[in-house]
Symmetry: D2
Subunit: 388 residues, 4 copies
């Protein structure tokens, strides 16, 4: 089974999709995965159009994911898709994911996990029950320097963690672009597609996931202030959250879509008893480690960098100074997912570094985060317990 | 009276003082002010020692500020000090300032204004009553690019302000350095000298002042989380504050002394309906203005930069690319104070740019900020009204 | 013919190759090209091993490029490879490229074009004679912000160009790593594989190409100083070149492999009568444009950036702030090559933006550059004319 | 004699002067020096005007330096000036400096040392003969991080030095501003006031001095290309120099006044057998040290930074993160000069760190540099020996 690429079926990602192309590029990059089928749109003609543009044979392009599951199962095992990539808006996450899993297909799912927290918990159970592989694309944890940050903290370089600052300032919703037919904005600001939160669901969850991933800590209490800044919106487009973690550390999370002129510079700073560190997407190939009594250090990604951990090294493609970016970070999720899938098929134990991709627990916690920040934001009480 | 330098008497700034030297350098820099007298320490021998080191004549060095006021008043008007610079720890701000003013001396006072909020209000009244000049050294508002930021916002370049992020991460109290006889740490962490807050009083007030100064907004509500991170401390060494402003904008303030490895990179980001801006002390000569639909712009300080406002230009000494720093920002407070004092003596109206130095209102608001963050931090209620 | 991916055969890129993987990732990324065959090594077993790792069918993996050409031509046109990617060391560029072209295969060739300048001129003639597509992978011209720089200069934003600084500082040959069996170092420092220059051929040509590409100028005179710094080497590992261009502008080119601790931060600065600009690989998604009398501007790459030229926009995959890197720049060469190949097959005129990939002229000029810097370096005369 | 400030007389620095104010601020900053007299202009009324603005008594303001020397010598020793600061254009350096020295006054002189190389050698002899203190204001060597760089190299952290890149790109002469009555531009572009070089004399010498200072190496050969870019000029406004040093290292020096949009970002990179380092004025408080096999390190200035050398520490005024800039670097020259002068008067040996300010040897070498780059630029020979 190891003698061919893994076959991927895509759900969503039709005309106008941004994230569909990101998934396809990321999956293709390392030569481990081929796009073999797709239900790219709930409109059959649009699905077919995308299929043609992607050079798929007509008979592997479907008008619905139900059809895809049915037809693919009729193919010989070696021809059929091995897993699906689900890149639909939030309200179309739960159903195709559950069906995929129940039909025996592994799943890569775009975040957030589901439309509601309840769905997330239910899906988590399905994942557990089927025992299949599940990857949730919290992209930023795919960056090698984010992995190195995790490694440094996990191995005690920073000492006990005391403080986390994490932020995701965007400016793209600075005005009501959703009224200009901008597809990305339309669904994200629509409660029927996005869920109970927009900004916090879309990017707040990324920041939250990054904070827990890097620090190894778990959120226990929060105090949120969500805002609707642009008139006419029904969901938050800005917010800030004070946080308390399970080891006593505190933190601040800031996410905004109205930080006018800002792009996507998600950034994390973690401070411990011995040292601090800082990473940001705008300088993604660099990790700064700060010391109280010695020179700060500049960690750099690169396949030839001798001091990096295996956790970082397994997620690098180029030598130092040839920058890798967002697509490579995304591709790391796919590559690790694929490596684990190969290992499973060959009855091998995957490297632990490969298993380090976001999954069901991240998804459930992310949805719980959304649930709790919305609850906290409506509360007069300062602190809301974060409980799953 | 304009034909000589202004004469300054200093209170505090004896052996081991950091901020005393900063005031002296800043006052001396532009050739408008000379140090003419001092009560540098409450111990007469230490005061005398500092006086000698500063080349002061023995008869102008005093063992107490009371003595200084008394003796200086006996000198002919043209010889006596024109104003005092008070650089003592917080608990010795109120008394010498009130006495100086009541004796007819103008005052430059290190921040925060007083030991308690009550003192601040009382001092404010004394300042009003005497009509003398009063400068509170919120240094960071002295940076030309901070002034340019204020100008850009005041003139509508950013549109209505929606969001403010302001942060002051330090790491110098990452461990209990106050137990190593480190004078700066000893008094700041001592409630009897520092007041009800350490981190929030020392640097939180700077961040708060910077936010209100740059944005032109006033705080109306806050939600604070203060922490004592290093064991054995009696005052906060870390904190974060959610803020609401009078125009509906929201903000986040982060101040810490346990952000291990951090120096003094106070930073502010302000986002409006039309544009955003960003300034930080580590790149103090640069102001980034971010636009939603055009290239971001890099404003730079420099006496030869043709596009800067007069508010910035009045606070610059070198051409672009010859960096000015903290001492020059500090010196801008002194220079503007001196220019206003000269104007007053000559019966002239000072330029409005010169009057743009922090004063009593900043001081009272700063002490109210300390009062309210401490109150909020102890409260279970999310929001505390900010009321003077 | 447009209804399938383009089929690529690779020559070189076997075990231990760095650049082979870069080509494969770049070719795969956009879903336009599939690796269909390969002669990965002149040792058949190594070629076969690489073929298996890449999931190629055994019958499409060859022990030599001669065999590949022969066998592929026997396949039906729609099955056989459309083009070859040649990623061998410099001394194995000419022969496979000429044979590929003469057998009707388009070619993507790693730089520099050939082993000698004479070969380059001969190959140029073959390319012209066959009329086939030829891409030389001067990667850095694939960056969107490099293309934007070219556009700004071409459209007069900088006015007449006066000065060019271009530099490529590396540190990886800081000591004799070629004696540690480091494959990349071994062949590059070996005159029998690298040619008459090492540093100047490997990275000097990149810098030279970048300078001519961005500025639109042509080199006319040069004065070179090449050095062998690490003892025991036979080829330059460092050098600097003074340059004169056809419009009277001058320039400086610095390339080094012994700039200890440096990675791959190729950087270019161009100054004209009206403005200047600056780009560097370490901040590849940013282009700084400097003005003498107004704020500098920060151009940023991103599919949603409204002010970018079509030349940049055709080479972008992600929104602003989701960084693209080296592999995406490399992939832009492949994507443009592929787009032109599709257009050719469909009898369509490609967009001029697609045709903007480096080709034979860049290759010949690059080899001439190597020839002339070596000649100049040996000369006592200051200036050497650059003549093709 | 140690019980008063040192008294400074200034020559030049009248209306319209930039550098005069810089000298005065720098001299005043640390409270060691007071401006006591001046011959600010060769026009007596202008000199008097400047004297009044600086609060000098009328009888200490002179219409010529000859008058100043004469009258000051008539004052009691404790009242008269101790040294002169000479801030005139280049053609008025030699005469007042020689006369000052011969009249027993120590001298701080703005660079370059003299109008011609011959003058420099003659002046050097006078300095030697009189045995008085002489400081030449090569400002950039006053930065603490430049001193730290020197220290790291001198103590072997970089190993044997192999390569130096030094650059000083300015853009302020991008067009013929000298025709707009811009005083700074008028004299610098006028051969009768500036000497045989403009760009190379004004900023090329700074870059050259910085390179020799930091590296500890001495230039032995050079190959220069000087350009007059803006039409109508009589002196170079741009140039580049290839260099060879006495230990076999090579280097590149780039200086330009037509690097449009550039400010004053003088930058140096030095690479050795073991490590490299990088410093630039735009980030003056930071020194990057690069290692081939470990993380790069960020050295930072600051009075509380525990790892800095005494050479740096003696030149710092603020804690880490409170940036110091150009004026503080300049003031370091004055402070060290003053410390040495105090020590001499007290018959004490100054700390070797204090003696580390630029002097006659720097001045002679700087003038030789100007002489040789002009000679080289006119030569067809590639290399010109650098011989004093």
């Amino acid at each position: 089974m190891n003698n061919r690429k893994l076959k991927m079926g895509m759900i969503g990602g039709g005309p106008g999709s941004f994230i569909g192309a990101v998934h396809r590029i990321s999956a293709a990059m390392d030569g481990l995965i081929e796009l073999a089928a797709g239900a790219f749109s709930s409109q059959a003609d649009k699905s077919a159009q995308t299929g043609r543009e992607l050079f798929l044979p007509e008979n592997r392009v479907y008008g619905s994911y139900d059809e895809m599951f049915e037809k693919e199962l009729q193919l010989p095992e070696d021809e059929r898709i091995d897993f699906v990539a689900i890149v639909t808006p939030n309200h179309v996450h739960f159903d195709p994911t559950v069906k995929a899993l129940k039909n025996g297909f592994h799943v890569v799912l775009d975040k957030p996990m589901t439309f509601t927290y309840e769905e997330a918990k239910e899906l988590d159970q399905v994942i557990k029950d089927t025992g299949l592989l599940f990857c949730l694309t919290h992209t930023y944890t795919g960056y090698p320097m984010v992995k190195e940050a995790k490694h440094l903290i996990a191995t005690g370089v920073l000492g006990k963690i005391r403080k986390i600052y994490v932020e995701y300032p965007q400016g793209w919703l600075w005005t009501d672009v959703e009224n200009t037919n901008y597809k990305q904005a339309v669904w994200r600001t629509d409660p029927s597609k996005s869920g109970i939160a927009n900004c916090m669901g879309d990017i707040g969850t990324h920041a939250f996931n990054l904070a827990e991933y890097v620090s190894g800590l778990k959120l226990t209490k929060l105090c949120a202030d969500l805002n609707i800044v642009v008139e006419g919106r029904n969901l938050d487009d800005d917010g800030a959250v004070l946080m308390k973690f399970d080891n006593g550390a505190t933190g601040v999370l800031m996410a905004s879509q109205i930080a006018t002129g800002s792009e996507n510079n998600i950034k994390i700073r973690v401070f411990g008893e011995k040292a601090g560190l800082e990473w940001q997407q705008d300088d993604a190939n660099t990790l700064i480690v700060r010391y109280p009594e010695g020179p700060d250090q500049i960690y750099r990604t690169g396949g030839n960098i001798p001091y990096l951990s295996s956790l970082a090294m397994e997620n690098i493609r180029t030598p130092g100074g040839h920058p890798e970016g967002y697509l490579e970070a995304f591709a790391n999720l796919y590559r690790n997912f694929a490596r684990c899938l190969y290992a499973r098929r060959n009855g091998e134990t995957p490297k632990k570094e490969w298993e380090d991709f976001p999954g069901a627990e991240d998804g459930v916690r992310g949805m719980a985060f959304v649930e709790h920040v919305v609850k906290s934001s409506k509360s007069d009480q300062k602190w809301t317990n974060f409980e799953l």
